[in-house]
């Protein structure tokens, strides 16, 4: 994890016109960038030594806006350092350029983020549902998606649970 000054340096190397902000805490360094520039940002980070993409997370910031977010965990094996890049997109236009052509490891994680959050990765070679069935409706890991399942029957709710007392 770069220190605060190192993070600012990285942000400067990426370019102030694409960087929206930086977050530095005790346990995380994060650069948030414009969604349309993510491919070039990761390429610049690769030039800075962050040569491994470790993970792609989809996050839902309900009820904040813009809600959806994609986070890229970058690792530098030379500097033994990690930095994260995040892009935020709105729910009504959740489109992010895909980094799969440059980073083959992002293939399945991006599909997972599409499946679970409905984030569309433009330019992804094969953007389909990966974990849920093909004909499933909805994106289950969004915060406003109900968790589902069945009510557990206890004595206090056994008369109100349908199908039990009928």
């Amino acid at each position: 994890m770069p220190d605060a000054a190192g993070l600012e340096k990285l942000a400067a190397a990426i370019g102030p016109e694409t960087v929206l902000g930086t977050v530095h805490t005790d346990c995380r360094s994060e650069i948030s960038v414009r969604p349309e520039a993510i491919v070039s940002v990761l390429a610049k980070l690769r030039a800075e030594g962050y040569g491994d993409l470790r993970s792609v997370h989809g996050v839902d910031y309900f009820p904040e806006e813009p809600r959806l977010c994609v986070k890229y965990e970058m690792l530098s094996r030379e500097l033994l350092d990690r930095v994260s890049v995040s892009v935020r997109v709105a729910l009504d236009d959740p489109r992010v350029p895909s980094v799969t052509p440059d980073w083959p490891t992002a293939n399945w994680p991006e599909r997972e983020a599409f499946d679970m959050f409905g984030i569309v990765f433009e330019g992804h070679p094969d953007l389909r549902r990966i974990l849920m069935p093909e004909d499933y409706e909805g994106h289950p890991q969004r915060r406003d998606f109900p968790i589902g399942g069945e009510p557990v029957i206890f004595t206090h709710n056994e008369s109100s649970v349908p199908g039990w007392f009928a």
Binding site: Y136, P140, P146, I147, G148, G149
Partner: protein
């Protein structure tokens, strides 16, 4: 199998004593050679062959069950240790895991069943031949367990289950107990189990009736009408 002799005075009512007496008389007739034709056939089917053969079948069925090689999740690892040297399920004849559902008698649902997997499991179950038995191993396949959410479905929702084994995951000993329960159930009466629990009588696979002019005797006792079977 054991042969029991009943004392005549142990019977409750005169009517029972009467019935028993009649049975004894028919047995004497059979031994003397006085019975013939349809009477003899009925007697043999009723008294000698069917009852003992079916018991022998149940005994063999319960002692040489072939489970399907089918692992789902965590429980599959515990299921795998069942044939291992510590528990050695071969003592009860359950060790021959079959890779094809066509050859398997027992489906152990070892783990969580997702909504994507449920149709596949149902198809596997449909491919198995009767008589077939199902053990739902662990909390997830019985009741969704700790993952009570959008992705999981309990096995009871889409297929009949004979034995539920609780645990997360159950110890191999627990699964062993479930298997032995199933075994004694099969020994006792194979129609007990899910058909009794779900009152699904009449769903048995019926062997087609022999043609009226067939000369052979149906020693298996199957193929009768429901009333006859009952």
């Amino acid at each position: 199998m054991e042969v029991t002799r009943q004392k005549l005075d142990g019977l409750e009512s005169d009517l029972e004593r009467e019935k028993f007496r009649a049975k004894q008389m028919r047995a004497r007739d059979m031994l003397r050679g006085d019975l013939d034709g349809k009477e003899l056939e009925d007697y043999v089917q009723e008294r000698v062959i069917t009852s003992t053969l079916e018991k022998a079948f149940d005994w063999a069925r319960g002692n040489s069950m072939f489970p399907l090689t089918f692992g789902l999740a965590c429980c599959a690892i515990e299921m795998m240790s069942i044939p291992g040297s510590r528990l050695d399920i071969a003592r009860f004849g359950f060790e021959a895991f079959r890779a094809s559902p066509r050859q398997a008698d027992l489906l152990i649902l070892s783990g969580r069943i997702s909504i994507k997997m449920a149709p596949v499991i149902r198809r596997i179950y449909d491919q198995m031949l009767e008589p077939k038995y199902v053990i739902a191993m662990g909390a997830c396949s019985s009741s969704m367990g700790v993952f009570n959410n959008y992705a999981i479905v309990p096995a009871d929702k889409f297929m009949p289950v004979d034995v539920h084994v609780p645990g997360c995951p159950p110890r191999p000993e627990a699964l062993m107990h479930g298997i032995i329960e199933l075994r004694s159930m099969v020994h006792d009466d194979p129609t007990l189990g899910w058909r009794a629990r779900y009152s699904a009588y009449g769903t048995e696979e019926v062997v087609p009736k022999p043609a009226a002019d067939a000369t052979g005797v149906n020693v298996f006792g199957a193929g009768g009408t429901e009333d006859e079977v009952a």
